[in-house]
Subunit: 100 residues, 2 copies
DNA sequence: CAAAAGTACTTTGTTGTTCAAAGTTAAATA
DNA sequence: TATTTAACTTTGAACAACAAAGTACTTTTG
């Protein structure tokens, strides 16, 4: 039985992007600073991973204000949710195989 | 709730090593050429990923002969099995969270 | 017996990824 | 006016991934 490596999504191979996506799928929106604190990242590093997910159109950005402070929120797009689901399915299959 | 990124094992972040480990845990031994064909890799690339897993002591090597042909077999070590199990558990937790 | 092919690498060199740190812009607060 | 905060972008260094070519040794084929 041939294993199809292409079931896995390169965009989610990095564990930070995997976590970001996990948070965004579970929470429907999360802001920059909360993500930064949650994942314990420098802002430059977080920004670049977010940009990578944005480039794939897996997440969307919403710029608002809270009081008078700027607040950037990130949301998983439908495309992103679908891709993430598939990726998790591939992982689930991998895990299931181990249990046979 | 803070997410601990360190539950994930860097050695298994790469999908090729994830697949190699998956095959070795499920099959208790697999040879070089079968792995190469299964994962559709150049021999240099496969060798370097195997070397990375060997360096972590997650796999062991057994050199034998089949008939008169050299045959190199790879096995998951106990350490490797334990580490892999932990990694899959971390992934399982991630997946479970999505289902709440 | 010489040439070709197979096994299992190692080496080389290019390209890609990841990251921290510093720099940037613009508004808000002290 | 100076500092702080938010959310980046840029830079540069370190490391990872990869194909392709080279290597050593053996076996098979013509």
């Amino acid at each position: 039985m041939k294993i199809s490596l292409d079931q896995f999504d390169k965009a989610f191979e990095n564990r930070i992007r995997l976590q970001i996506m996990s948070v965004l799928v579970a929470n429907e929106s999360y802001d920059f600073n909360s993500l930064k604190e949650l994942l314990n990242l420098t802002d430059g590093n977080l920004a670049s991973h977010l940009k990578a997910l944005e480039k794939e159109e897996y997440i969307q950005v919403e710029k608002t204000f809270i009081g008078r402070k700027p607040n950037t929120r990130y949301l998983a797009s439908e495309k992103g949710r679908a891709a993430f689901k598939l990726h998790l399915l591939a992982l689930e299959n991998l895990i299931k195989q181990q249990k046979l």
